[in-house]
Structure formats: structure tokens, C-alpha cells
Symmetry: C2
Subunit: 463 residues, 2 copies
């Protein structure tokens, strides 16, 4: 890989410029939740991308814009990588907790402080600076690169699904990569290959047309009781979800995934202390607990409201009751199918009149650890950081955008990783990025691309 | 009853003075919820009571004061009647809905308008004016009269239970009578002989020490699910309350009570229209529905709160869940025993850690319709108003103070009635009392006392 060595030299040579570029972007606030500076930051990025030959533009969504860019490789048979990142940031508040200027990008002893230095402007810039390094080194890009920079990630990416659905041809690629966040406890990258899915619903039940004096409970059905009974039928104390077909599509944990969990350093006591509990559900422990966390679905009561829970002695017979359930799903459960199954279940249990409002729907996705793309990312991390990265076959949360994007784009292999330093203070005061982590991050991106193209060529050679 | 005829003549002769007395009391606002004029009204009543020979005083409670008065009969073996009433009123707001002055006691075409004209100053004054009439007629009072005037009824009488418990000797009597409110649909008094009891509790369950990301629901117990399962065990879809001994102490409906229900004019369609429902619980109808309303207990979910039910896509694993249950009880269920049974039930179902907060506790009470005191009230109503009064063996709500007072004073016979005109606009603008209903009310009080003493003498003669 002598070409890659030349690129790494160019990364070093151009690093002062890379630092300046990151400072420039951090100094442009882009707080999506308050719509502060987001469009200005998008315009700045397009300008910076265009300067290094990326075909870049601002693309409108139903909310804040996406910044999109493409740069093609002249190599024959180069594969395409689509990279997800976001250019919006969290608010800086509370301001009095900062010891550095939140948008100052001040550098002290090799550490740059500021909102977005890691999350995710530092991560994002790695790709732009890797492209610049290839050019500076006179090395042709190993793959076509498509860059999708979300402007609403910190607000839950509400417009992203529709944007992706409307642009599947534009975004078509051989693999998807998310660069966001940072390391966990160790000084090596986390890499995850899956995301949980989600079905989030609200159930609403009506009784009398208004709350009544509860003496009338002798004659008038209480919708809260009906909801309690329906929930109990949906999931009893044994924890099994009674929806028809709920468990059918679940992909079993592979031996390789289990082995990865076994080497993860999972620590029951630390986890329980963090969660404020004394035992895990079902009494599981050790790697079994970790497997339960990552590879099993849930049906969770996320909220329940009925009647009067405020001050005073108000005894009412509620006229309505509602609850919210979230089903955390695992590959390959289908949230749409489960929603349909929930409707059938309620209808079959005398709850035809229950209203179901779907409030969120995310497909689970999981790239198998033995796919070439998974190996590419792990090997690239070993190259750049030495030792073993912190591999997660999937994450417990839902909607990790890079991985989920892989699912949306026809199930192409996908991974999520991030280059921020340990304890980088995400969403908190004095968020930071070290210059060393930033430099490594640029190399990590360049290495991933190079290995990705090589693996693709090898597969073609075999095929 | 020639003595009673003389008293009635005195009621007529002194009626102008009775009207002036009611106006004087109505013009003194006494809004307990805002503590406006309550003590001034208490002092006024003590003055008016003292003027007609009642041994009257203001008695402090933990909240607003009680006005207490006694007047004794010189007749040998006169029985004692304790009368419950309240001198506080609802606020007048919203003021712009009144066409008369809320505290003006203005009389137009034989109707007096103002807050408290019926509820309950008009009712209260009947007793004072009946005493004055006996005196004016030169007729000795037929019974000893004890007058307990609550200053907090419109605020739920929070201090009354402790006051009564601390003064059982003072209040000791042969029977208890409540005069409050007014007629229902017909132009004849309602008389009720029972009140439902109440046990009102809050159940609280804890899980993790804070709300967690709901992805963790794979490992951490959800207190909302535990509460749902416990509630389902406590009362399933068949409606039966599973607490040990819950139904044991219930006094069956007597033939006379059932007969009273049958002549009550209960109307399914009217009730259902009022409640906004299409059927009653369990499909009951007609007199069976009315009996279910008055003679069966409930276990009602009055509130349930957990997690997040506000705006947005917040999927949490709640750290705590709580619900409120009210058990509407019937004679002779014991709220204390049921509270103890609930604790045992939860302990036996793996819910030892559930916290129970008792938020209210009212004993049910029911005076049998064939007791002499019940007959006294019904006969008195027939005498004064002609035709049949609207008799309720019990009411569905809890804590009707006069009846409940009977229970607190050792289970003496007790009844509740009221003399306000139909549609008297309780708690609303332009509350009113007609002069005719007021005059009849004074006669009703005098007749009850006279019949009460006669029944007592007859019972002694037989005994």
C-alpha cells in the first residue's frame, strides 16, 4: 500500500490546513433545534467541498437542508461508498458551564474545544480532508464517494427518511458508512454493524364522552381498565409478546457475533450501577445479558395517562385512556408487519375500537460480521489505531443513520464508526477533539476507502 | 297534631322575618375555598341563633370553624336530633353569567336569587326559623335539637371527620339529619338513607432510579408493566375484585329497598344520554341497573401515570409508575379492612415493594327503610308536600355528611334531604330559592321534629 503511505504523508503535510478547515466550520454555529446558522453552515460546506473538486450542493428537504456531494474515481471498476454524516449541532446551553468559547474552536495543548468539534463536524471534516490528501498526494481516489450530510440529526432527522426515499438512485452505492461520535472507554474506535428497529405507537381508548364522577363506575365502562386488560394480554408477566408472528423473522445470533460479545468486556456490575438496578430482567448475566440487550426485541410501555393524577381528592371515572408502546426490533423484524399484527391482535381481543396511532417506524438492520465490508472497517481500524477496535454487531438503540441507510438503500453492507476521543463530552459543555484523533480520523477514512476498493476488486477477481 | 297547626300558623305569621333572616345570611358571603367572609358568617349565625335562645358558639377545627348550637326541649323523654348543615358557599364566579347580584338576595316575583339561597343557607335557615316558630306559637320543642353547621362543605369538609371524632359526646343523638340541596326532577323532596363509602389509594412502583432509553427495556424491569399486571390480577375483565373478603360484609338489598327502586322512575335512556354511553356495564338495564349503581362496590382506575405522554418521539423506559384506585363501597364494607386486604393481596402477588398511599377513607352507611326514623322523614314529606317523596335507599356518591354522621355517631339512624326548588342552579349563576319552597322547608323541619318525637314516644310505649 505505498499509495496509501503517500496519502498519509499528504495528510501530515496538509494537517495545518485541515485544522483551519475544522475551526472554520466549528465557528459557524448550526443548531438545528433552534434553526440557528444551519443554512449558513450548509453554504460554507458546499463552498469548501467545491474548492476540492466535489460536486456539491444544498438539497432541500421538508425541514432543514441536506448537503450532498459526489466525487468520482477515474479507476476502472471503482466501487461506490455512500457516507452519512451531519453538520448540525446541539445547542451550547448552559453557557455558564463552558470554560472555552462554545463556537471559538480554541486550541489548547493539542485539544480543540467547541460545539461540534467531535459531534459531528470533526468526523465530517475527515472525509473532506482525506479527499484533499489524495489529491495532494497525486493518488487517484480508490472509490467513488457520495457524501450525505444531514442538517437535522440532533433533532431526530425527521426529514431524512423521505429524502432518502426520494433519492435512492442518487444515493445508490455498494456500501454505506456512518462517521459520528467517538470512542467508548478504550482509545480505539467503536464500530457497529447493526441498529435496532422501532415501532412506536400510541393506543387510545374512549369510554363515556367525558370524565365522570367515579361512583358511576358501577354502570360505565372504564377505558383505563380496558387498556390494562389489553396490555396484559399483549404481554403477560412471562414477558412474551403475544402478537402473531412477532418472533418469526428474527435472525439468530451467529457464532461470530456471539464471540464478538464475549470479547467485549461487558461488565454486569458496571452496567447495573449505571442503570441503578440490582439485577437484569429474567435474571440473565454476563454475555447472555449483553446478547439479550442487542439481539432480542421488546414491547415497552413508554407512557400511560388517564384520569387525574394531580393534587387533591379527585376520584374520576376517566372518559379516555392512552398509552404509548415502543417495540424495539431486531433484524429482520418488520415494523410495518408488526403494526398490522397489533391491529389484528386488538381486533381479535375485543378491542376493535382501540385507536392506534403510529408515531415512529424504523427498520432494524444488521450487516453480518463476516461480510467483506465488515472486515474492511475492522482491518482499517487495526491499521490506523493498532489493536482491536470495539466491535458491536449491533447497537441497542434504533436508527443509527449510516447503518439504517444501508437498509434503506436495498440492504447494502453498512457500518457506523466515529473518531472522537474517549470522554469527548458529547452534548455537554467543553466538547472537544484532540488534534491527534482528528489526524488519525483522516487516515482512518483514507484507509477504509483504500481497503474497500481492494476488497471489491478481490471479490470481482474471484467472481 | 293541633300543636303543629299552631306552629305552622306561626311560620306564616313570622315569614316576613324568615325572609329577612335568609337575606341577611345570603348577603354575608362565606366562600370557603377562598376563605372569604367565612368567619364573619359564622359570627352572624351565632348572633342570630343566640337571639332565639339557642346555645350557640363558633368551634375551631383544623380548618375553618364549625358553628355549633343546641336547644333543649322541656318535654319529658324528648329524643335528640342532630342536624348537619353547612354555612359556606361556592364562589360566585363567573360573575358575568349572573343576571342578579350574586350576594344581593334580591327577590323578584317570589324568587330569591343569590349564592347560597338554596345551597345551603336556605336549607340551614329552615331550622332556625322552625325554632322561632315553635317559640312564637308557644309550643314546646318536641325534641332536643343539636345543630352542626360545617364551614368547609364546599371544600370537601376536610376538617369534619376529626371534629366529629373529637366531639362524639357533644354530638350524641338518637338520629341524624342532613338538610342540603334540593329536589330532583319532581316537585317533591329527595330523601336518601345511605351513602356509599370510599377507599382511595395511590399505588407507586419503582424500577431503575431514573427514566432510561427504552432500548434498555431488554434488561431492566419496567414498573409500568408490573403495575399493569398487578391491576389485571386485582380485577380482570370479568369485573370481580379479587381482594380476599371484599364482598363478605355487603348487606343485601332488602325487598323494601328494591321496591323503592322500582317506583323511582329510573330511565335507562335518559341516564345513558346523560353519561354519553350506549349501554351499561355488564349489559344491565332498568331497575337492575339502578340497583347495580346503588348497591354494588367498584374498583375504579381513577388515574394512571408513567413515562412520557407529551409531545415528541420520546421513547423511555419509565423509572416509576403510579396509579390511583378508588373503591366505591356499600354498607357494611369496611374501608380499613379493604386497605389491609389490598396490602396482603399485593404481597401475595410479588408486589411487596409496591407503595400504597391511602388518600381517602369514608365509611359507607345505610339506614334501613323500615326503621321508624326513615318512616318519620317520609311521612313528614307526605304531610308537607303531598304525594310521594323521591326516596333513595342510598346515594351512589360517598360522604353525604348527614348520613355518614349517623355512622360516625355509633350507627344511629340517619337521613339526608333538602328543600331547594327543582333546577335551583346549584354551583351556577343565578342560584335561587322560591319563597314558597323556603316556607315549606320550615314546615318540613317542624313536622320532622314533631313526628320524630311521636315515633320515639311510641317506641318507648311499646318497649
Amino acid at each position: 500500500m505505498s499509495e496509501l503511505s503517500e496519502v498519509r504523508r499528504a495528510v501530515d503535510d496538509g494537517f495545518e490546513e485541515s485544522v483551519a478547515a475544522l475551526q472554520r466550520v466549528v465557528r459557524q454555529p448550526s443548531i438545528s433545534s433552534q434553526n440557528i446558522g444551519v443554512r449558513e453552515c450548509a453554504a460554507l460546506l458546499v463552498e469548501m467541498m467545491t474548492d476540492i473538486g466535489i460536486d456539491a450542493r444544498v438539497m432541500e428537504t421538508e425541514g432543514l437542508p441536506v448537503v450532498y456531494g459526489e466525487i468520482r474515481s477515474a479507476r476502472a471498476d471503482a466501487p461506490t461508498l455512500v457516507i452519512y454524516n451531519h453538520y448540525d449541532v446541539q445547542p451550547a446551553a448552559p453557557l455558564d458551564e463552558w470554560t472555552h468559547k462554545p463556537f471559538g474552536a480554541e486550541i489548547v495543548d493539542g485539544v480543540m474545544y467547541g460545539r461540534g468539534t467531535t459531534d459531528a463536524k470533526g468526523n465530517l471534516l475527515c472525509h473532506l480532508r482525506a479527499i484533499a490528501a489524495f489529491q495532494q498526494a497525486g493518488v487517484e481516489l480508490p472509490c467513488h464517494v457520495k457524501l450525505l450530510f444531514d442538517g437535522e440529526e440532533e433533532s431526530g432527522s425527521p426529514s431524512l427518511p423521505a429524502f432518502v426515499a426520494a433519492n435512492t438512485d442518487l444515493l445508490a452505492a455498494d456500501a454505506a458508512l456512518s462517521f459520528d461520535g467517538g470512542f467508548g472507554g478504550s482509545n480505539r474506535p467503536r464500530i457497529s454493524f447493526g441498529t435496532s428497529g422501532l415501532l412506536f405507537v400510541e393506543l387510545r381508548v374512549r369510554g363515556a364522552e367525558r370524565d365522570l364522577h367515579s361512583a358511576r363506575a358501577r354502570l360505565v365502562e372504564n377505558p383505563a381498565w380496558r387498556l390494562v386488560w389489553a396490555l396484559n394480554q399483549l404481554k403477560g408477566p412471562d414477558g412474551r409478546v403475544m402478537l402473531d408472528g412477532f418472533y418469526d423473522a428474527i435472525r439468530p445470533t451467529t457464532a461470530l457475533e456471539r464471540k464478538t460479545l464475549e470479547t467485549s468486556g461487558w461488565d454486569d456490575a458496571a452496567q447495573q450501577a449505571d442503570l441503578g438496578i440490582g439485577r437484569f430482567l429474567g435474571g440473565v448475566s454476563g454475555v447472555d445479558a449483553y446478547e439479550q440487550l442487542l439481539f432480542t426485541p421488546t414491547c415497552n410501555i413508554a407512557g400511560f395517562a388517564t384520569g387525574w393524577m394531580g393534587e387533591g381528592h379527585k376520584t374520576v371515572l376517566p372518559g379516555r385512556a392512552a398509552c404509548r408502546l415502543d417495540f424495539r426490533l431486531v433484524a429482520n423484524q418488520d415494523p410495518d408487519a408488526i403494526l398490522a399484527s397489533l391491529r389484528l391482535f386488538l381486533d381479535a381481543h375485543g378491542c376493535e375500537d382501540f385507536e392506534i396511532e403510529s408515531r415512529g417506524n424504523i427498520e432494524p438492520a444488521r450487516t453480518a460480521l463476516d461480510t467483506p465490508f465488515a472486515e474492511v472497517i475492522v482491518e482499517a481500524a487495526r491499521d490506523v489505531y493498532g489493536g482491536e477496535p470495539d466491535v458491536q454487531p449491533t447497537i441497542d438503540a434504533s436508527g443509527q443513520q449510516g447503518v439504517w441507510l444501508g437498509g434503506l438503500l436495498g440492504g447494502i453492507p453498512a457500518a457506523g464508526t466515529g473518531i472522537g476521543p474517549p470522554a469527548w463530552r458529547g452534548h455537554a459543555a467543553d466538547e472537544f477533539m484532540t488534534l491527534e484523533h482528528y489526524r488519525n480520523g483522516i487516515n482512518y477514512a483514507a484507509t477504509i476507502w483504500t481497503r474497500f476498493a481492494a476488497a471489491h476488486a478481490a471479490a470481482r477477481g474471484q467472481g
